[in-house]
């Protein structure tokens, strides 16, 4: 028999008390893990953005557009390797609840720029050939059960009318953070239709996506692009894709701070719960620790017994909590549908779970250890339960 066995036996002496403590750690870590995963999912688009891409938009607001003619001038800026463009279409599929991102993009340049989206060659060719064709992310297609060749109708909001599209390709993310829920169709299709129905809105681009040769020169390239259109009818703002994406997300900074705060409050609460459990158990056993001391167990061993017990309890809660986080996250993601294109428990979350639990285990034991070591053997022996 070793010390380890003793502290395990001690930890489970009051099965209900220890069980409830483990349960509260489990629930706390589950809440922490899910909250963190939500925050990560929120920022997933930022993480996925490439340092090799810039985005140019109208300086007044993203809802104003830019002339298509800018593309040739941007292409000539030194350091620019590729220019693509697109518009936020904002179409609704059957019902508003079925929300997903849908864009009109300049297909040929777009897929050169977004190489993280992988489409089988034959599908890509089919898409390029079909003016009404569209490409969907794997998750999106799976969500609605779309198959290649299916005709899909989107109800336009920004661009009125019912728009018909045919699924020609399904793309897959090459990187884990890639968004597999996007709907993309030919910008030319949108533009030609507008030429007929609303000519003033034709040849207008929502945003330019720009490939650059050297991320280190992103700022000077951005400045040069914006300089081209200074004092023109439509001035531009060019920034890195990351900054652009962050601009959408950062609106909810306060919410994210609140979520993070709640996570830490949860940690404090489990510290209180574990400290209470360990403190109570150790105090009840004051007499036993006096016996251990009488037998010659030194301060370090006594401290080890108490600390070990505290850590055993917290790490059990930690293990169960981590094990529960994955299925909970899967269920949560399923329930949230398309709101979070990427919803995954990150390794960092698991490491934080472990670090927090270990810290709680250690902190919770400090006072009981101190109190137990302070008790004189003769006094401890007098304390018969």
């Amino acid at each position: 028999m070793q010390i380890l066995k003793i502290l395990f036996k001690n930890a489970f002496r009051h099965k209900l008390r220890t069980g409830l403590t483990i349960l509260s750690i489990t629930i706390a870590l589950l809440a922490f893990g899910l909250l963190r995963t939500v925050v990560n999912a929120w920022y997933a688009g930022v993480e996925a953005s490439s340092a090799y891409r810039l985005v140019t938009r109208n300086a007044v607001s993203i809802i104003f557009s830019l002339p298509l003619s800018y593309k040739d001038r941007i292409r000539q800026v030194e350091g620019v390797s590729e220019v693509s463009w697109g518009n936020w279409f904002g179409g609704i599929y059957i019902d508003e609840k079925n929300f997903f991102a849908n864009f009109a993009v300049d297909a040929k340049t777009y897929f050169d720029l977004y190489r993280e989206y992988a489409i089988p060659d034959d599908q890509k060719i089919a898409f390029f050939r079909d003016r009404k064709g569209f490409v969907a992310g794997r998750k999106l297609a799976r969500r609605f059960g779309w198959k290649i060749g299916d005709t899909i109708v989107l109800k336009g909001t920004i661009y009125p009318g019912n728009w018909e599209f045919v699924l020609r390709g399904i793309y897959r993310g090459r990187e884990p953070n890639a968004d597999e829920t996007v709907f993309m169709f030919h910008w030319d299709y949108l533009n030609e239709s507008l030429k007929k129905t609303a000519p003033t809105r034709a040849d207008q681009v929502g945003f330019y996506m720009i490939g650059i040769q050297d991320p280190a020169r992103a700022i000077s390239v951005s400045g040069n692009i914006d300089g081209l259109f200074k004092n023109s009818f439509a001035e531009t703002i060019t920034e890195t894709e990351k900054a652009f994406t962050l601009g959408f997300v950062a609106m909810s900074d306060t919410i994210i701070t609140a979520i993070e705060l709640v996570s830490f409050v949860v940690i404090i609460i489990i510290l209180a719960v574990v400290a209470n459990t360990v403190g109570m158990s150790v105090r009840e056993r004051t007499n036993e620790y006096a016996v251990f001391k009488t037998l010659g167990f030194g301060g370090w061993r006594i401290a080890g017994l108490i600390l070990g017990e505290s850590i055993v309890i917290t790490m059990m809660g930690c293990a169960v909590g981590i094990a529960a986080t994955f299925p909970a996250a899967t269920a949560f993601a399923a329930a949230m549908g398309a709101y979070f294109p990427v919803f995954k428990v990150e390794p960092a979350t698991i490491w934080l779970d472990i670090v927090f639990s270990l810290s709680v285990g250690i902190l919770a034991a400090i006072i009981p250890v101190y109190r137990t070591l302070k008790v004189k053997i003769a006094d401890g022996l007098r304390m018969i339960e």
Binding site: M1, K9, N10, T294, L295, G296, G298, I377, A378, L381
Partner: protein, 233 residues
């Protein structure tokens, strides 16, 4: 009886403090204990018997005086040194057995051996031997809650002797037992003293328990009243 002196106590004083009050508990105690002696410390409740025993066992410190055991003055040892010294030299038997309830009889007896460099197999052999001496070889896997009071105390005695300590100290070892069990425990202690030549220092206020002792010393209000009484009970 052996003639060598194993414990030598000189001018021992001990008092407790309660608030600004000082309560003298032991007053200038001096006596020797011979190797192999079976000593009974008697006296009314509160006379300082447990305090004296605790000092001898090295779990408390006196205000002044010396306690030399096997050539070592234990009053000069630091707390850490004392812990190591106790592990090697003292077997302690308590009134309420003080077994660890979540450990089996075997594990309870093994407890003090964890502190030794003995291998698992050696520990096992020692524990089985000790449990055999107290007649509980067949109860090794029982938990304290599954044993009678007398059996618990025998497990506690096995735990006290398993390290083969220099002295055995017992504080009212029969105080919580019925007469039959108490007699069994006293027979066992007597046997340990006779056959294994263990030096035993036992606190009791039960004259029947003291009958097995060779020497009886009386404490009254912290003073040793009969310095050298041979057992006449």
């Amino acid at each position: 009886m052996d003639s060598g002196i194993i414990v030598s106590i000189n001018g021992l004083n001990k008092s407790y403090h309660r608030g600004d009050q000082t309560i003298p508990v032991l007053n200038d105690i001096s006596f020797d204990i011979a190797e192999g002696e079976f000593l009974a410390l008697m006296g009314p409740s509160g006379s300082g018997k447990s305090t004296l025993l605790n000092l001898i066992a090295g779990i408390d410190q006196p205000d002044s005086g010396s306690i030399i055991i096997g050539g070592v003055d234990v009053t000069t040892l630091s707390e850490t040194e004392l812990a190591g010294w106790r592990a090697l030299n003292v077997g302690f038997i308590f009134q309420f057995y003080n077994l660890i309830p979540v450990l089996t009889a075997f594990e309870n007896v093994e407890l003090p051996l964890i502190l030794t460099p003995l291998s698992r197999a050696e520990r096992k052999a020692h524990v089985e031997m000790a449990l055999k001496v107290v007649g509980l070889a067949d109860r090794m896997d029982h938990y304290p809650g599954q044993l009678s009071g007398g059996q618990e105390q025998r497990v506690a005695i096995a735990r006290a002797i398993v390290t083969d300590p220099t002295i055995l100290v017992a504080d009212e070892p029969t105080g919580d037992l019925d007469r039959i069990s108490a007699e069994e425990i006293m027979d066992l202690m007597d046997r340990l003293n006779q056959e294994s030549k263990k030096t035993i220092i036992m606190v009791t206020h039960d004259p029947r328990a003291a009958r097995k002792a060779h020497v009886i010393r009386h404490l009254d209000k912290g003073i040793l009243t009969n310095a050298d009484s041979q057992n006449t009970l």
